[in-house]
């Protein structure tokens, strides 16, 4: 195993500390790294995975400020109760005496305790918009308030990485990938990202010439074995399509076609249908779970992934959002189990991977008339990985008293999302120049919250 020794020499002290604190929970890769991994000469390529919670996730019920008495005044029906021993299913899971995780997110707790999961609270976009569309757009372009920037910040982050690495990576169509659907704004741009709805069916399927559909045994996820096998098998017609798009020089579709066919060839060799997650990781059987599993597979196949993106919807909880159980709890269960499975599945590789979560804005601090919450302002983000200075909640807590709220209704913002994304892009991914990744951002490295470990 090619564990990056450099990283662990850098972080050795902290790593030992965290292993010492929670020896059982410390991931294998850390112990290995600290207690004698083979040295390697070459710097391992870093990977960043972003998970977007579309619809504005309610930060106040995700990482619950149970130490803030105002919370319970604002949310008589939907606040997550203060942590109570023996009631871990119905009360917040305490992190530090002030904050607690939503009880549906139990799978995050061991990762937090092992020091590889950090939280930034009261974070988000400084722009005041409460439009999902605009706020997502800004968070993905990385330029709040400015719509004229055409590309996404993840795409720019890849391009801002040192030239030699970019060159190596440019050979791979998988350098920047989005799983689960179309091309997200965050990856649009010159990095030539690839959007793949599902790895297993990514190919030209020309199996049964001239035959009418016939009944086939369906797998749990609606894919047939035959369809999956056929999708990645080389076909003569595929070469015809390939030539068509090869020759369409000058058309926007030319580049798209070229990447598609390169990717198909690579995928054929890694056989996505036969993937078994490592370390007993169990992904939720949902679109989001599948996307994360396939990201893990791509990373483990060494096809050159630098940045990857997955998204999950359903966070727009205007009505009956629930508390310890209910609508939001279900979403959070899926979300955290998916990410925890990814963390587990990647195992040692997490030393070079950071998983970052985000949502366009938070929700109103007060519950609305329908036991739900309306569009708000700041929320909370998670960051996981070997490079992450975890086991703590970063940022500054603004408080929930009426005069402390944003416009007397939402959690106020104390951390610009660019300070979080920027820190990860620069200090983990190795991008150079904050201004290149976030044009127009007035902040500097001094605004970083220290979520990435430093030598």
């Amino acid at each position: 195993m090619n564990v990056s020794r450099r990283i662990f020499i850098k972080n050795g002290g902290l790593a030992i500390a965290s292993v010492g604190l929670a020896p059982v929970l410390g991931p294998a890769f850390l112990r290995q790294a600290v207690f004698g991994a083979a040295p390697t000469s070459q710097q391992k390529k870093k990977t960043l995975i972003c998970c977007f919670q579309r619809g504005a996730a309610d930060g106040l019920s995700i990482v619950v400020p149970h130490g803030d008495p105002d919370l319970y005044k604002l949310r008589s029906d939907i606040a997550i109760p203060r942590p109570l021993a023996g009631k871990k299913d119905t009360t917040a899971l305490d992190l530090d005496g002030f904050f607690g995780l939503h009880p549906a997110m139990e799978s995050f707790l061991p990762i937090y305790k092992s020091g590889h999961l950090a939280i930034v609270h009261a974070a988000g976009s400084p722009d005041a918009t409460r439009s999902h569309f605009d706020a997502q757009d800004y968070m993905e372009s990385g330029t709040p308030g400015n719509k004229s920037v055409a590309d996404g910040w993840m795409s720019r982050a890849v391009l801002a990485c040192p030239e030699d690495r970019a060159k190596i990576a440019s050979a791979s169509p998988f350098r920047a990938v989005a799983l689960g659907g179309g091309m997200p704004r965050i990856l649009q741009g010159d990095a030539g990202a690839l959007a793949i709805p599902d790895l297993r069916s990514f190919g030209i399927a020309d199996n049964s010439g001239g035959k009418k559909p016939k009944r086939q045994a369906r797998r749990g996820d609606g894919m047939t074995d035959a369809a999956m096998a056929a999708a990645t098998r080389p076909t003569t017609i595929a070469s015809g399509f390939e030539t068509l798009y090869d020759d369409a020089v000058g058309d926007v579709l030319h580049g798209t076609g070229k990447e598609s066919f390169e990717a198909i060839k690579t995928l054929r060799s890694i056989n996505p249908g036969a993937y078994v997650p490592a370390n007993g990781a169990q992904y939720p059987n949902t679109g989001f779970g599948r996307s994360l599993q396939q990201i893990a597979q791509l990373i483990k196949s060494d096809v050159g992934v630098e940045v990857a993106f997955a998204e999950m919807g359903g966070w727009d909880t205007h009505v009956n959002q629930g508390a310890a159980t209910g609508q939001l709890a279900l979403r959070l269960g899926e979300f955290s189990k998916g990410i925890a499975a990814l963390y587990q599945d990647l195992g040692d590789r997490m030393s070079d991977v950071v998983i970052l979560t985000m949502s366009e804005f938070g929700r109103t601090a007060r519950q609305n008339g329908n036991a739900g919450t309306d569009h708000g302002h700041a929320t909370c983000f998670f960051a996981l990985g070997g490079d992450i200075n975890g086991g703590k909640v970063h940022g500054k807590w603004p408080g929930l008293a009426p005069e402390q709220l944003n416009e007397n209704r939402d959690l106020a913002l104390t951390t610009d999302f660019r300070a979080v994304f920027g820190e990860v892009a620069l200090r983990h991914l190795g991008a150079q120049g904050l201004e290149r990744v976030f044009p127009g951002y007035k902040g500097t490295a001094a605004d970083f919250r220290g979520i990435v470990r430093r030598a």
Binding site: F98, Y245, V252, H254, D374
Partner: protein
């Protein structure tokens, strides 16, 4: 995390080190820059390979080589229709472009009998809203009662210890959402439960199961999807269909949300289709009162602060006083009545405070009318939400209802205009008037119409013309569309084949190009048995509980499922924005592969809902004995109206030769090659044309 001094004590008690404290730096307040008028159309979409994807520049609209007459017709059919069917170009040529535009602008003058006959089996779409709604809620109620009965039996069985783990496993609420129950499992559970019931319980359960066709029987979405597909593929009223598609997207509703699966039927029929080429204020008003919209964007639940009715208070006080006096005099009855009255008052006070929901108020301004830069503030959002309180749905009938008890009857100020107190339902009507007549609305909606019909970044001159027409006709959509279709900008060189087809446009235009017709594959009757109903949902590209996950799950054996896999599940898009009008958003590798697979599935005859007799006759059999060069030319003429790049033509020719060679025939440009006898070769060539870069554009 740094916390305010107020919380520090608590924080220290937690024995967590405060090291690593980071000083809070005020985030620079970012001023929102002025942006283009339409949000969906902001020229921000970075398309991969920017060099190749130069966004349409506006300057080119003034001088360019004019389109040929043939190109104008093809262009018209690509924009006002879902692409040409065989013979369409000839027909327009004969009647003339102007006459065709006029005909399409008046769909009511075009006979639609064949389509109506074809849609007749889709009975849910013709059911009155109240019947549909009652059926839906009855089914829900029956389902609930049955579940309660089953749960009771399960508890009893468990208590007796008679049941092993194999009889019934009721999933605790919620867990089921993660791993969906198969219909088979559900039936097993029901059967097991039946056996453990008392005779009375069993007969009631049987009754419930017999009567119950489940809420799926009243879910309109599969039929909506199929009807939309049939009309798009075959209706002669093509502009009507294109515009219905536009407004469906503009007033987007995700039919998976609660009762929207039922209410969307009337929204589609009585709002979108009805006013598609009508007056914008009428359309907006109908949408605002549409139960589907009221539920989708939560206005149905929005409740305003009550201004207490002073007369009511006085009456109550008088009554209480009177009863008190009577009770003091020893009247036992009065004492009891007083207690009841006080209890009632207490209950009213304890009731939850009024709840304002701003969701619809925001989206109606941002998406439906003014546009995100239309000059409204958060305060305006709240005021509009207040005006619209009480606009809700009457559950018994599934129709719009104004509930004065929910309405905030105070004074409001919307976009600078005062709406006096006590207006009742008129508050909302005034808001709609203000929004529909705002210049920002005219510009925003015109911009989007031009995006749909002309170019991703439409010329400002054209948008201006639309606004002028809008003003002079007070929002007559038909006339605004006429302005677009008859403007010189419409026929500009830059607009020609500029738009990338959406997945729906791509699938439908493919079917039309090869002359395919839609075939109903499954019974769409509400009386159908569950298995048949599942078939109906599958034919609509839906699987499971009337829902559809965005990828992998739709049935690719049918056209709508293919559309879903390509990234555009119909009536099932969660964000209120609708799909982007900027067509460059549809360009991505994954999407392209799905399109190529679609072209193969179609030509291979793997789409069970398409009748390909037309293609068989004209394209496949007709190719018999035709040399590859001629056959390729014929395909290019039929499917691409002759508009094919030299590179594509060369590739097609090469493939034609290679394919015929591999199939054993000897090919050369001069020799007569029996292409037609080799159906597979012909199919592949058609697939290549439909999958070509040229066919991705309209």
């Amino acid at each position: 995390m740094e916390i305010s001094p107020l919380h520090r004590k608590l924080r220290l008690a937690a024995a967590v080190s405060l090291s690593g404290l980071v000083l809070y730096a005020t985030a620079a307040a970012t001023v929102r820059a002025a942006a283009p008028p339409a949000k969906k159309g902001t020229p921000k979409a970075a398309v991969k390979k920017t060099a190749a994807a130069k966004p349409t520049s506006q300057t080119n609209f003034t001088d360019n080589t004019p389109l040929s007459e043939q190109q104008k017709i093809v262009h018209l059919l690509n924009r006002t229709a879902f692409g040409p069917r065989p013979g369409d170009v000839e027909r327009v040529k004969q009647m003339g472009v102007a006459a065709y535009i006029d005909e399409q602008l008046h769909p009511e003058r075009i006979s639609d009998a064949a389509i109506s006959a074809k849609l007749a089996p889709l009975t849910i779409l013709q059911m009155p809203s109240d019947e549909l709604t009652q059926g839906y809620y009855d089914a829900l109620k029956r389902g609930k009662e049955l579940k309660v009965l089953q749960a009771k039996i399960e508890r009893q069985t468990k208590a007796q210890g008679a049941a092993g783990g194999d009889t019934m496993e009721m999933t605790p609420g919620g867990v089921a959402a993660m791993t969906e129950e198969t219909p088979e499992k559900k039936r097993q559970k029901a059967r097991a439960a039946l056996q453990n019931m008392t005779p009375d319980e069993r007969s009631r359960a049987m009754e419930l199961m017999q009567g119950s066709r489940g809420k799926a029987a009243y879910t309109g979405t599969p039929q909506l999807i199929i009807a939309k597909t049939i009309r798009a593929v075959e209706s002669p009223r093509q502009l009507q269909e294109v515009m219905v598609d536009f407004w469906t997207n503009h007033f987007n509703i995700d039919a998976r949300k609660n009762a929207c699966r039922v209410y969307k039927v009337s929204d589609d029929r009585d709002v979108i289709q009805k006013y598609t080429l009508g007056n914008f204020r009428d359309l907006l008003g109908a949408s605002a009162k549409s139960p589907a919209m009221l539920v989708y964007l939560d206005n149905a639940q929005s409740t305003g602060e009550q201004t207490p009715d002073p007369a009511m208070g006085e009456r109550l006080a008088f009554q209480k006083n009177r009863l008190k006096k009577m009770a003091e005099r020893g009247n036992a009855d009065a004492k009891e009545r007083l207690a009841r009255l006080e209890e009632m008052q207490g209950k009213i006070k304890k009731k939850k405070p009024a709840g304002l929901n701003e969701n619809y108020a925001r989206e109606i301004m941002e998406l439906h009318t003014l546009g995100v830069d239309g000059g409204y503030t958060q305060k305006d959002v709240t005021e509009v939400a207040r005006c619209l309180t009480g606009w809700t749905v009457e559950r018994a009938t599934g129709s719009f209802k104004f509930d004065p008890r929910r309405h905030d009857n105070g004074e409001k100020i919307v976009l600078g205009q005062t709406i006096p107190a006590g207006g009742g339902i008129e508050d909302g009507e005034k808001v709609l008037d203000i929004l529909a007549s705002s210049p920002a609305t005219m510009r925003h909606v015109s911009y989007q119409l031009c995006q749909r019909l002309v170019a991703d970044v439409p010329p400002t001159s054209l948008v201006n013309k639309c606004v002028t027409t809008w003003k002079s006709t007070r929002g007559d959509i038909r006339e605004v569309v006429r302005t677009i279709l008859t403007a010189p900008e419409f026929n500009s060189r830059v607009a020609y084949r500029q738009k990338i087809k959406s997945p729906f446009e791509y699938a439908v235009s493919s079917a039309r190009a090869v002359g395919a017709n839609y075939v109903l594959t499954a019974s769409q009757s509400p009386q159908a048995r569950p298995r048949q109903r599942q078939g109906a949902a599958m034919a609509a590209g839906m699987i499971g509980k009337g829902g559809l996950s965005y990828t992998g799950n739709a049935s690719v054996q049918y056209l709508p499922g293919q559309v879903a896999v390509m990234g555009q599940p119909l009536f099932q898009y969660q964000p209120p924005t609708g799909y982007p009008e900027d067509s460059r958003k549809w360009v991505s590798s994954g999407a392209l592969i799905s399109r190529l697979n679609f072209s193969l599935a179609l030509t291979r005859g793997r789409l069970g809902d398409l009748d390909l007799t037309g293609m068989q006759d004209s394209l496949l059999n007709g190719g018999q004995g035709v040399p590859p060069t001629q056959y390729v030319s014929r395909l290019a003429d039929t499917l691409l109206s002759g508009e094919v790049s030299p590179a594509t033509r060369a590739t097609l020719l090469k493939e034609a030769k290679a394919l015929t060679e591999t199939s054993g025939a000897v090919a050369s440009a001069s020799a007569v090659v029996p292409v037609g006898t080799d159906a597979e070769t012909a199919q592949k060539l058609v697939a290549l044309v439909l999958g070509s870069p040229e066919f991705q554009r309209r």
